[in-house]
Amino acid sequence: MHNKSITDLAKSLRAGEFSSVELTQAFLDRIKRYSSLNSYITVTEDLALQEAKAADERIAKGDATLLTGIPIAQKDIFCTQGVKTTCGSKMLDNFIAPYNATVVEKFNQAGAVMLGKLNMDEFAMGSSNETSYYGAVKNPWDLNAIPGGSSGGSAAAVAAGLAVCATGTDTGGSIRQPASHCGITGLKPTYGRVSRYGMIAYASSLDQGGPMAHNAEDAAIMLQIMAGFDERDSTSVDLPVPDYRAELNNSIEGLKIGLPKEFFGEGLNSDVAAVIERAVNECRKLGAHIQEVSMPNLKLAIPAYYVIAPAECSANLSRFDGVRYGYRCANPVDLTDLYTRSRGEGFGKEVKRRILMGTYALSAGYYDAYYIKAQKVRRLISDDFKKALSEVDVIMGPVAPTAAFGIGEKIGNPIEMYLSDIYTIAINLAGLPAMSVPAGIIGGKPVGLQIIGNYFAEDRLLNIAHQYQQVTDWHQQSPKGFE
């Protein structure tokens, strides 16, 4: 049961093969059994069983959606009313959210069953899930390796069969990279496609929530629920949501795929390059045309991102001050002490690093040189993509330069960690949609293929991924011991 897709499970639930309560209990047992993966921060056992019971009633009445009764989990960045929401931080260790994020509301309305809240890099800052206050998450494929980040808990849980699917968020690659490292399918939607209301902000102009699941069809089902205009989010786009499953079975004959030469330079592990080449070849066999494109400003994506994201987050995290909620230091002697100690004790090193960087980039005298400069570079990168996507339909390439590295290997070297974001970060700057799809296994660890599309072309991406998944079975592999 635990590695089945949403559609299979939905069918079984309707056929009465088992109930949602039984299904949910099975997952809760597995979560306990594999708690050493550390993918969950909070397991909401009683709540889940209550929701499962209600779901069974709905299914019996014939009033169900595909997701009704399906056990899912939420990245702990989404506010869940009445349930602890920590964002992977000591700062929110005591925070019981008083409201639901829009995304959470939508899943609730669809009747999904929430198993719990998933571990993540603190405040979504990290690429390895090692910065979490709740400890590192283990990659089920290799327990000594990182699962990726910041949605590491989400990726690990789905890969290990501890949730049917999960939500993630992606600011610089945080859905795609863990999806790649854990062998699952993840999608970052176009900026503005999914509401950010209730999704704790890291970098407001880059953040997007998205689905992480076993395959493209499941991702499409999840996205159908998540996408849509929300009047509570000014950056939410008011465009109709297409039927994401309608185009899945279209042929990709004649599809034009662009491969940026800058994606395949030095720094890309040769085994990973081979996996990508093979995946692209599968697409060629399905009738797609491959051509080279160029993204001349790609390498500037890293410095631009590491100015813009910290600048925005430095302001977004100012609200954590020990006054109205969250961590407060003991016995503050005055106001300054309240602030500096609550924030000093509540935040981890990586978060502090980025707040300091952002504060510096915005401070008097440096604003033009760093922040404005970075926004200009952002425009150039975005234009590069626009130009490339006028020549081809989608862009493909690797998600990360290597397969999952070891826990502890890069955490001491932040710059090296940042450089590994090279293939994913530019997409967030441009606001384009992109997916990671399982495409191979190297040394027992999965590697994903990245597919990048034009604005609001999620249906096309899902179509391509689905077609690829009809002729390959990487997405059906499970880590040893978690089958």
């Binding site: 005591n94 006054v323 106001l335 500096t340 300091l356 200009k376």
Partner: protein, 95 residues
Amino acid sequence: MSLTTNDVKKIAHLARLGIDESDIESYARDLSGMLDLMTQMSELNTDDVIPMAHPMDQVQRLRPDIVTEQNNREQFQAIAPQVEAGLYLVPKVIE
């Protein structure tokens, strides 16, 4: 581009961020490393480029002027560190 420990202390104060004395040097090093990445950007001429604040060319939507929120004080203050008589309490503020 190198940041001194004094620079770090000043920035930390602006951000009201407590950092241990023993960590200041490593933060200075990390930030300097990040700033070194920035030199690639500064080398590029971007005089004619318009900064991009948002990926989409959208404009701000306006909402009608109606009261839609009711009093939820009990619920919100249930998670507050220190409240009294409906007020959030903080160390005395001196003007």
